[in-house]
Structures are given as structure tokens and as C-alpha cells.
């Protein structure tokens, strides 16, 4: 049923309120989510207004970032809502746009409930970490009157209880999430980027280049990674940057080897041949034709890699070789709590539970990605 212009303009005007346009168009799911999300953001801003504004009078970069992000979200949501409504209206116009394999994959991913929930969990953790200075009820480092405040059990005042110095475990867990989650993500990005390019170059050029590059990988893999990390952490002082670099640079060879295998099979396929036949230079063939086709399995392993990196950081911190207290990370919080497992179980339990939940979510995400990006199904005609 074609819409008249006045009706379209009306819907476009409604889209200024995030979600309303979608509701009018009958996209209830997206509409309700947009409304809920917007309400949540506005509620946080209203609730912590003094902190959101107050951040700008402090010299701390992370507080500025948190406030700016939170405030920027509002126009971005409105923008997205209007853009998406316009898109839907345009598609109603029968303006044809090919069904991209990525779009197909996205739809299949959306049908996998567990995977979608894992995205929600992961996203909320990352948001919590980013907004820690705004959300945290207490200063994670402040030590109040120790004797009256330490080892308090979880309650409405201290959601996750307090530790041996009387610090709020919930606030510390929020700040700890920043360390654990950012290390996982950044190290994964470093490892996957290096590995992908390295493996692709080796596979595409083949011959001696391949031989030399892959022997380097063999040597690298032969090193026991965890002991290498222990050694490096001992040599350099462990802070977030050093940990990210160490984790990232020790993990790329596996990706390189994996990508090389993928590209080796892709480079003899006809579309690579035809890309060469039209005179495309090698670097463009690698970047635009080979890597995108090899990327979907990498995405799956990337999700697992984040989990692996977070786990590795936690192990290092648990051993006292990662992030040093008083800076909280989930790993050193668990380590700190292990002495008090019997009298204050919450000290180790909550960071441990968050850690476990994160790792499980990333695994489920990887599963969902794998099913959605199955290359055989990706090219199926009808989904």
C-alpha cells in the first residue's frame, strides 16, 4: 500500500522521537528497544547530572570521555532513528538493493537468541566500564573508616559488599572491567590485524616469501607463550599498555597460520584469477578480494580470542604479575579475595562471576557468529 507524501512527512517528523517512527511503521521490536534505550540513557544523565557535568572541571581524561560519550549518545540515537525510518520508507518504495551476504548473516545472527543475549551482556559490560566514573556509587580507591566498613556483606548500600580495606566491591568491579575488557579487545585487534595481513601476504606471494614468513611463525609458535609472557611482564613494568602489547604480539602467529590456509585455497579460485586478469595490483587483490572472503572465520576466532585475552590477563593478575593493586582488575580482585573466601566470599565471587559471564558470553557470541557466517550458507540463494 503506497503512502501519500503527507503521511511520509508525518512519520519522518515522528522519528525525531527515537522509536516512535518505528512504532508507527509497525516495527515494534526495534521501536520498543529504541525507546527503552533512550529512556535508560536519559535516566542515567538525569540521575548523575552533577557527575556528568562535573567531569569537565576535572583533569581526568577518562571522566571527560565518559561524559562526552554519554551526552553524544542522545543525538546519535535520534540520528539513527531518523536514518533508519528513512531507510524503511525508501525500501517500501521498492527501490531495489541487493541482499548482501553480510545482511543475510546479520539476519541469521539475530535469530539466534543466545547469541543476541550474549551481545547484550557484553555490550552492557563495556558500557558499564566506559561509564564507570559516572555509574560507580563509590570511589574505588577511597579507603573510608576501615574498622567499621570492611568485610561488609552485600546489601543495598554496598551491592557487592566491601573488601578488607572497606572499599566498595561493586565500584571496584566496574573499574576493573575497564582493565579486563579493554585489554581483551585491544590485544585481540592487534593480534588479528597483524596475523591477517601477515598470513595473507605469505599465502598470496607464496614461494620463498611464504617459506620465510611461515618459518618465523613456526619459531614463534614453538615458544611457550605463557612463559614468554611471564618473562616479558617481569622485564617491563606491567601496565595496561604493556599488557596489551604483550598479549597482542604473542597471539598473532596462530591467526597468521590460519589465514594463510584460507587464502591459499581462495587464491586459486576463479575470482582471484579474474581480479588479476583485469589488472588489479597485488595489494588491492589481497585487501579487497582475498581478506574479505577469509574474514568470516576470523571474526569467529576473534570473539574467542577476546575471551582468551581476558582470561590471560586475569591469570597474570591473579599470579600478581599483571595489573598491580590498588588499580583494580578482575584478576587481581579474585586474587585478593581468595584469602577471604570463607569470611567474605563476595570479594572473589563477584569479580569471578563477572569474568565467567564475560567469557561465556564471548564463547556464545563466537558460536552465533560461526553459525551465521558459515561460508557455505553465506552464499545460499534463499535464506
Amino acid at each position: 500500500m503506497p503512502r501519500v507524501d503527507a503521511e511520509r512527512d508525518d512519520i519522518r517528523a515522528k522519528a525525531w522521537v527515537p522509536g516512535l517512527g518505528h512504532l508507527v511503521l509497525g516495527r515494534v521490536g526495534v521501536g520498543v528497544q529504541l525507546i527503552m534505550f533512550t529512556t535508560l540513557v536519559l535516566a542515567v544523565i538525569a540521575w548523575r547530572w552533577d557527575r556528568v557535568v562535573g567531569a569537565f572541571s576535572t583533569p581526568f581524561f577518562d571522566r571527560w570521555l565518559a561524559s562526552i560519550c554519554l551526552l553524544l549518545v542522545v543525538p546519535l540515537i535520534i540520528r539513527f532513528s531518523r536514518w533508519d525510518v528513512n531507510r524503511i520508507l525508501r525500501e517500501e518504495d521498492q527501490r531495489y538493493r541487493g541482499k548482501s551476504p553480510w545482511k543475510v548473516a546479520l539476519r541469521r545472527f539475530g535469530a539466534n537468541r543466545l547469541a543476541v543475549w550474549s551481545i547484550y551482556v557484553i555490550a552492557s559490560f563495556y558500557v558499564g566500564a566506559l561509564l564507570a566514573p559516572i555509574l560507580a556509587p563509590y570511589d574505588p580507591a577511597a579507603i573510608p573508616d576501615v574498622m567499621t566498613n570492611r568485610y561488609l556483606a552485600p546489601s543495598s548500600v554496598h551491592l557487592f559488599g566491601t573488601d578488607e580495606f572497606g572499599r566498595d566491591v561493586f565500584s571496584r568491579a566496574l573499574y576493573g572491567a575497564r582493565v579486563s575488557l579493554s585489554i581483551g579487545l585491544l590485544a585481540m585487534i592487534i593480534a588479528k590485524s597483524i596475523g591477517t595481513l601477515y598470513g595473507a601476504v605469505a599465502a598470496y606471494f607464496g614461494g620463498i616469501v611464504d617459506g620465510v614468513l611461515m618459518r618465523i611463525v613456526d619459531v614463534w609458535i614453538a615458544f611457550p607463550t605463557f612463559y614468554l609472557m611471564l618473562m616479558l611482564v617481569g622485564v617491563f613494568e606491567a601496565n595496561i599498555v604493556v599488557l596489551v602489547l604483550i598479549l597482542g604480539f604473542t597471539a598473532w602467529p596462530g591467526t597468521a597460520r590460519f589465514i594463510r590456509g584460507e587464502i591459499l585455497s581462495l587464491k586459486n579460485q576463479a575470482f582471484t584469477e579474474s581480479a588479476r586478469a583485469i589488472g588489479l595490483p597485488a595489494h588491492q587483490i589481497i585487501v579487497r578480494h582475498l581478506i574479505p572472503s577469509a574474514l568470516s572465520p576470523v571474526l569467529v576466532t576473534a570473539a574467542l580470542a577476546v575471551a582468551g585475552m581476558i582470561g590471560a590477563e586475569a591469570s597474570l593478575s591473579f599470579l600478581g604479575l599483571g595489573i598491580r593493586p590498588p588499580t583494580p582488575s578482575w584478576g587481581n580482585m579474585v586474587a585478593g579475595g581468595q584469602d577471604n573466601l570463607l569470611n567474605a566470599w563476595w570479594m572473589a565471587f563477584f569479580p569471578g562471576a563477572l569474568l565467567t559471564l564475560t567469557l561465556i558470553s564471548f564463547s556464545l557470541l563466537a558460536d552465533g557468529l560461526r553459525d551465521a557466517l558459515d561460508p557455505k550458507a553465506l552464499m545460499q540463494k534463499y535464506v
Binding site: 576463479a270 575470482f271 579474474s274 588489479l280 572472503s293 540463494k381
Partner: protein, 322 residues
Amino acid sequence: MLLAVRDLRSAFFLDEGELWAVDGVSFDVDAGETVGLVGESGCGKTIVALSLLRLIPHPGRVVSGRIMFDGTDLLPLRPEPLRRVRGAGIGMIFQEASAALNPVYRIGKQIADVLRLHQGLTKHAADRAAVRVLGQMGIPEPEKRARSYPFELSGGMKQRAMIAIAMAGQPKLLVADEPTTALDLTVQTEIIDLLLYIQQQHHMAILIISHDLEMVAGMAHRMMVMYTGRIVETAHTRDFLAEPVHPYSKGLLAAIPQLGAGSRAPLTAIGGAVPDLLALPEGCTFHPRCPHADDECLVSPPPMKSVGDSRACACYKTGMRL
């Protein structure tokens, strides 16, 4: 002379030994001319095509010979000028369009890529030009098809899209390697008509490679017959069809089934099978299957010799009336 290939030899260096897929092939293609290259599967036709643009995959390579295209020898060419010949000088269309098109990019983008590469168009101009090229290839609703992904098109459409990619570089020579093999008969005819039409429009030469003798004969001015990496006969199509000289050509022509005519008669075929390229027979490689072979044929491979008006044949027995 647009393309002059002289004594081209290409080999694959396998663990089992050297496989000479192209063993001393020479031929010419004039501007605007259509030349057909026919032969059974595995005789080296495709490797001839790939040799022209130095696209043979590892562990194969062009070993020797000369490929003069438009006045330059392509074999010693550095990668950079070679890239400009690929696509802009010599365009190529491949056997299976569904495999040759990249599944993750829209058709329009794949054409626009060539336009940007070889004609220096901006992204926007290339996108619009891509739609125009698709339209010229006889694709209905080109704007819509430009936004489609390869898997959304039919076989014939994909073939047209691939021809569009090859034509986007405005090549002087189009190498069509089995352009119709994967298509059904009616679509085959359409594709051939399309090729002939764009050839007229652009005054472009076509080297058409196929095992389908009838299809090639319907298109080409001249025919070349290939067997075990060598060209065994070249002739004008008219002469070739009237009277093939090489025993292998005779066999190929006789093997074409005639629809209706004596339909109860058994199909004729050439006895034996194409020999293993790693263990070629001594002398003339066709002698085990040749009805006229004698001791002379066992000694050394016969050279090409002229057997009349611009036709040549590699057979010791051509002097006789076979």
C-alpha cells in the same frame, strides 16, 4: 598484427615431472578478427589463454616464446606495465561466471573497479558508467542489476556481467575461454550474438577458446585445432569446414552429431583417449589414435607446413589424399 604469438612454451613443474601444457604454439590475431581455438579437454587451450596475460598459477609458468601484443613483448614486461595490458589491452572472460565473480561484492562495484583502474574515473562516475556498460551488455534493468550480488543473477546474466567487466577496460583483444560451456543452448546463442555485437561496436579482436567446434565455427574467421599442447591445423573456417586436413580435425568434425540425419546411426568418435601429458607418445602425439599412422609418424613430431591458401597442418600424411 594485433597479437603475434611465437613458439610459446608453458609448463607445469610438478613432483611427477614437467608437464608441457603448451609446447611450441605460434599464431596471429589481427585487429577486429575472430580466431577460434578448439580441441579436446586437457589439450592446453586454457593455458594458452592464461599464458597471454601471464596468469598461469604456480607451479606453472611460461618458459619461452614471444607474445607480441600491439608492438610490445608481454613476456619480459615488468609487473606495472603488464597490469595496464591486463584488462585494458587484453580482456578475459572465464569459463564459469559464477566462480569468476566475487560473491561478496555487487556487480556494479566489480565493473566500476575496472573503470576506475583503467579509465581513471572517480568513484561516482564509475558507478554510473558501470550501469551504462551493463545496459550495453543487454541486461534489463541495469540500475537494479548493478546493485545485485552475483548469486542473485541467472547464469546468462552472470555471463553478461562478466563480459561487462571485461569490456569495461575497452580491450583491443577479448579472450573468451569457454564462454558458453556452462549455459543452456538458447542462452549460448544470446551470449554469442552479444559477443559478435560488441565486437562490431568496438572493432575488437576475439580469441575464442572452446571444445565446441560448431559454436566456434559459427563465430570465427579462422580456426586453430590444438592437440596435446600443439596446434595441429590452422585454416579459414570456410576451408576448414569444407575439407579438414589433419586426421584429428577430420575426426573432430565427424564426431559432431547430426540432428535428424540418419538418427539411428551410431555416433562416430575418435578411438582411444587423449594421452597423458606426462607420458606423451614418441613422434606425432596423435599416432596411437590415427588411422593413417605408419613408421614415419613414430620418429619425431611433424612440423607445421603450409598446405594451401593461408592454411597449415602438422601431419606427415597431408601430401596424400587421405
